[in-house]
């Protein structure tokens, strides 16, 4: 009877998880669906607590209380601007749990005098390797996103060789533990080596490539829980783990597609380290036209259609609220404002959408690249705020450019372009942007938030 209830609770939880994720296809239904998924989680936990192998609830109670104490602030008080780091830390936690459970499983099996079967060992190896790679990788990713560690690509000669050697070592140790499950030294060395591999694997990846890496690590942590399910024979872990793994996998494919780069290139290419000189057109002999706040305000005030292109610079300057205010002002004067969001704008998938939604921009004004690209032809002003590579026409017409082939927003099709930018530094990829030298483009230099506040004041006076 009890066993039946446990199985039923897992069944309900799986169904609610799938329905919850399905609800995320519609912003108006998503909230409800995810609340139901949370109920599903409750079922799964209660079901597990009834398990007859559980005899001592003291550590469980203490762990749950501490988990709530840590989890509540992480959910309720972390600001939206810190979302990328927050997601990376959450991935660390989930991978850590998977790894520790794997070690505990192995250890108690050995202490009890038994040996895990080869099949169990295979599952445990997957669980622990994926888990500790993710722990190492996400710690570095979080450090980079929080800027504790330089967000630039850190490279050294022979890097791929070193990483390759460590990875082969991990695989060799894993094979050894399957052949001889009693070899504790191999098992524990494998964990340490995977952890180091995780660190070294993310270190050379630059800030703008973080969306791909975070998504990929998300997929690994999901697969680690999935492997845990195989190791301890638990179906709900297999189901949720594969949902999680599929999600991370799809996102990382979408992200690398949006950069027109293969997985391999993102992970082993260390894009950010390439020097600007390679292939890209030089800016020598070209000049930019800078514009005053007053002139920019007049252009915006009389525009019929303004398309705003937000980038990481907007997030850094915390300018999303000023952007919303500007948009409302233009709309009040009879113009139309749309937001064009490139899939890789920012530091994680969907980053710009969340920031703008937080600033109260309605989601029906946020457009994906494919939806909006044809609208640029009738736009009076394309307002680029802290974005660079995603509007670089070199991606379309300069075969020598490292970003050639990457799908971009057609800002250069607009009648005029205003670029809000701190200074003339090249974008993350270190590539000159011809758009800035176009005769229809004017540059408004300065901090994005300050410039926007200036524009708002001026438009009110027009």
């Amino acid at each position: 009877m009890r066993e039946l209830f446990i199985q039923a609770s897992y069944l309900i939880a799986s169904a609610l998880f799938i329905l919850g994720l399905r609800s995320l296809t519609r912003p108006d239904r998503a909230r409800r669906g995810m609340q139901q998924a949370a109920v599903g989680m409750l079922f799964a936990i209660v079901g597990t607590l009834l398990n007859h192998t559980l005899v001592d609830y003291r550590w469980i109670a203490a762990g749950l209380v501490l988990g709530v104490v840590i989890g509540y602030p992480m959910g309720q008080w972390v600001p939206m601007t810190a979302m990328p780091q927050r997601i990376a830390i959450a991935l660390t936690f989930s991978a850590l749990a998977a790894t520790l459970v794997g070690v505990a499983e192995y250890h108690s099996e050995i202490v009890a005098g038994g040996l895990p079967t080869r099949a169990t060992m295979l599952a445990l190896d997957f669980e622990i390797i994926l888990g500790s790679i993710t722990v190492g990788g996400t710690i570095v990713a979080a450090g980079k996103l929080q800027e504790w560690i330089t967000s630039r690509a850190v490279t050294y000669p022979g890097q791929n060789l070193v990483n390759g050697a460590i990875f082969l070592g991990v695989v060799a140790l894993a094979v050894y533990t399957i052949v001889d499950p009693a070899a504790g030294w191999a098992f524990y060395t494998m964990i340490a080596a995977s952890f180091v591999f995780g660190i070294l694997f993310v270190i050379p990846i630059g800030g703008a490539d973080m969306p791909v890496v975070v998504a990929l690590l998300n997929s690994y942590s999901g697969l680690a829980s999935c492997a845990m399910g195989f190791a301890i024979g638990n179906v709900i872990l297999i189901i949720s783990g594969s949902l999680d793994g599929a999600s991370g996998f799809i996102l990382s494919i979408l992200m690398s597609k949006a950069m027109n780069r293969s997985f391999r290139n993102v992970l082993f290419g260390a894009f950010g380290s390439e020097t600007a000189a390679i292939g890209a057109k030089s800016s020598a002999g070209m000049s930019v036209r800078s514009i005053s706040v007053e002139d920019a305000a007049i252009q915006l005030a009389y525009a019929q259609l303004v398309i705003v292109i937000p980038g990481y610079g907007m997030a850094v300057a915390q300018a999303q609220h000023a952007v919303r205010e500007l948009a409302e002002l233009i709309e009040k004067r009879g113009g139309e404002v749309k937001f064009a969001v490139h899939p890789v704008a920012g530091r994680m998938p969907g980053h710009m959408n969340v920031l703008l939604a937080e600033a109260n921009v309605p989601y029906d004004k946020l457009y994906d690249m494919d939806e909006i690209n044809s609208d640029f032809d009738r736009a009076d002003v394309a307002l680029v705020i802290g974005a660079n590579d995603v509007v670089n026409p070199a991606a379309r017409n300069d075969k020598a450019s490292p970003i050639y082939g990457m799908p971009i927003l057609n800002a250069d099709h607009a009648k005029s372009v205003i670029v809000l930018k701190r200074g003339m530094a090249a974008g993350f990829a270190g590539i000159e942007n011809e758009l800035f030298y176009d005769k229809r483009t004017s540059m408004l230099f300065g901090d994005a938030k300050a410039s926007l506040t200036g524009l708002i004041t001026e438009i009110k006076n027009v």
Partner: protein
């Protein structure tokens, strides 16, 4: 391990693929937060490790895993809800207070 588990894995991965590829880019960050919350399901394994009283090491490791997994569940569902609450359509915005 039996073959049935592999069937479950295959079908779940397929469903996950189908469902998640329909999530619009608009909601990709909430999707990541949501899968973080769901990945807290590793609590199931952690609870068993922490409460089975097999040996001390397993109990301690299980305890840490319970802390990590349950904080992901609480934090993950809360932040997903917070985020989804922010996504409003134009008509909601006019109706509600700023």
């Amino acid at each position: 391990m039996n073959l049935l588990e592999l069937y479950v894995f295959m079908l779940a991965a397929f469903v996950g693929f189908m469902v998640i590829s329909r999530v619009p880019p608009l909601l990709h960050t909430p999707l990541m937060a949501a899968t973080n919350a769901i990945s807290g399901i590793s609590l199931v394994g952690s609870l068993i490790a922490a409460g089975s009283a097999r040996d001390q090491v397993a109990t301690i490791l299980g305890f840490i895993a319970v802390v990590a997994a349950s904080s992901n569940i609480v934090g993950g569902f809360l932040i997903t809800d917070r985020m989804l609450r922010m996504f409003k359509s134009g008509s909601d915005n006019k109706a509600g207070p700023r």
